[in-house]
Symmetry: C2
Subunit: 345 residues, 2 copies
């Protein structure tokens, strides 16, 4: 480049700005979870008293979630789902830690389909050595009752491969009998997911990334970013040599044995759409005449499960027929504050 000539804008310049925006987002996410955690706890306290709160919310779930729920899944959810909790397991209370990792816990009544009353799955936000970043998760076994496995062996197969790989110490090993067995199952499934619950067997859109690899990759990434930012400030071309690590292409994707096609997207939709908007979706469910869940019958069905709950008149909750659910980050508000109306028993 000629002396004194203004360097043109490069993709690098834009990428550096994007990286700075991402740092701000991380800080904002931390702040947000920190401030809203006590409110979510309060909400859970209240919604636990409302029969079928979560089944009704899920009935109104956005398409990102709804498309993965089959009719037999809906039946289990309507009959048995008691509670959902979303946590950010890597956030400590000093306002540091990665706010993008997320734990999703589903609580169920004892039911005819599986032994579990809690299914909890943690999605870790990690960076691979080649620069890829995203969510990864250990597969969670669903203890299906005999003949009830809606995933047709996919969650069991994912857990079996996981355990076998742990024994070998190589989390991408491809020469194990469990690998071939699961690959065959995934092949025969042929792209059409059989059940929402296969999600619990999901590992990664790419491959498993351990905490150690992620820590090392983050360190390299930050070093490289700092070098590039310094270089960008001094001279245009000086940062050419910082990309050696990132050019190591990897070919050990684990797609062939992945049991769910959109595990990451589904986790994000649960954490960022369903969880923050649950009250709005619930209100919307009340306004929706075509609701298939008969919560009044359900109420009497579950009396032996919910020991300390008062029966609740859900219709009394929905006097305000105004607003449909809105995204929380819109202008908010909207409808007038509702009147205090409740029926007595």
């Amino acid at each position: 480049m000629a002396e004194g000539e203004e360097p043109p804008v490069s993709y690098e310049d834009l990428a550096l700005i994007e990286a700075e925006f991402e740092d701000v987002d991380t800080e904002i996410m931390r702040k947000q979870y920190d401030l809203s955690a006590p409110l979510y706890a309060k909400r859970t306290e209240v919604t636990r008293k409302i029969p079928n709160f979560w089944p009704l919310v899920i009935e109104q779930a956005p398409p990102d979630i709804d498309q993965w729920i089959q009719p037999h899944d809906s039946r289990i959810i309507a009959e048995s789902l008691l509670n959902i909790e979303v946590r950010r397991p890597e956030l400590d209370n000093k306002g540091s830690g990665n706010p993008r990792s997320v734990s999703i816990k589903l609580e169920f009544k004892p039911n005819q389909d599986f032994e579990d009353t809690v299914l909890e799955k943690t999605f870790w936000h990690r960076r691979a050595k080649d620069g890829w970043s995203g969510l990864v998760s250990e597969p969670v076994r669903v203890h299906w009752k005999k003949g009830k496995d809606l995933t047709e062996g996919l969650t069991d197969g994912a857990v079996a491969l996981w355990e076998a790989r742990k024994k070998t110490g190589d989390m991408t090993a491809k020469t194990l009998p469990e690998y071939y067995a699961l690959k065959k199952k995934v092949d025969s499934w042929n792209g059409s997911n059989t059940s929402f619950f296969t999600w619990f067997g999901w590992v990664s859109g790419r491959r498993w990334v351990s905490a150690e690899e992620s820590e090392e990759a983050n360190r390299m990434y930050l070093e490289s970013k700092e070098k590039r930012m310094k270089a960008a400030k001094s001279e245009g071309d000086a940062a050419e040599d910082t990309n050696e690590d990132e050019d190591q292409e990897e070919e050990n994707d684990d797609e062939a044995v992945e049991v769910h096609q959109a595990g990451e997207e589904l986790a994000i939709s649960f954490a960022e759409e369903l969880w923050p908007n649950a009250l709005k979706l619930f209100t919307q469910a009340q306004d929706d005449d075509i609701s298939e869940i008969d919560f009044e019958d359900m109420d009497t069905d579950e009396e032996d499960e919910d020991d300390d709950d008062e029966p609740i008149d859900i219709r009394a909750l929905v006097q305000d027929k105004g607003g449909k659910a809105r995204s929380r980050d819109s202008t908010g508000g909207g409808a007038a504050p509702p009147s205090k109306k409740q029926k007595k028993k």
Copy 2:
């Protein structure tokens, strides 16, 4: 209610929790704009050097925006749009003020369609006395050149009614000639919006709300909320009498003279989708083979307008073909840090 009996959950309980979530959102929004303002300034500095940056971003706009842009609007945008800026005019630098008000400024090259080189519209987030809250905006005149008015008189009509109402001192006056004239235009338009630029004439999804009314309504709202929260803590039914102000129904909606059907939604989409995701949308435009905007030709066309710009090789900006744009609040990251690659002149 019988003594000692636990009160059932009421819609009021849920609404109070929602109100608390909204307070947290407000605080988070303030923090977010505060932290990201310098980054947006830096981004503008860089993107001003990229010919057709904003036309290419708008070409990739989400459906919420795209549906309001007609082919003749696209032509103006492709030929003349130089820059977009989004500000939060009510935020001061002490971290207070309403973060939901938004100013959207579009800068244009001198062009054959209108005299303006800047069209700026401010959307104020306000509360009406009956409890409604949302965005309202003063209509902005577009100084169309003779015979070029794409809005077919709608923006002029909106401004004329606004001025006439200001003279009477009644911003919802319905007995003015300007009211009948505009109503007739809106009726004849019959629901099919003729141009994106009618947006500049938009006032409200409801009716205009002045700063004074909003201040008074917010004061009432906060008082009422505090009363209800105290009441909710002490006893279930005690807050019955706090709703008198909110029950005052209003019938002076201004729908009959509103020139744009979705002015608020469009403002929110500009501020919360297009603006934060502009770099991602731009990258996406580069990856998109069917782009209709020929930025290389455009580059030479505009040389007389852009005095201090270096010609830029946009293709050099898009070496990374990996990720499509993602919502900023997803797990972020995704692609590997891109290589430093730029072509010399």
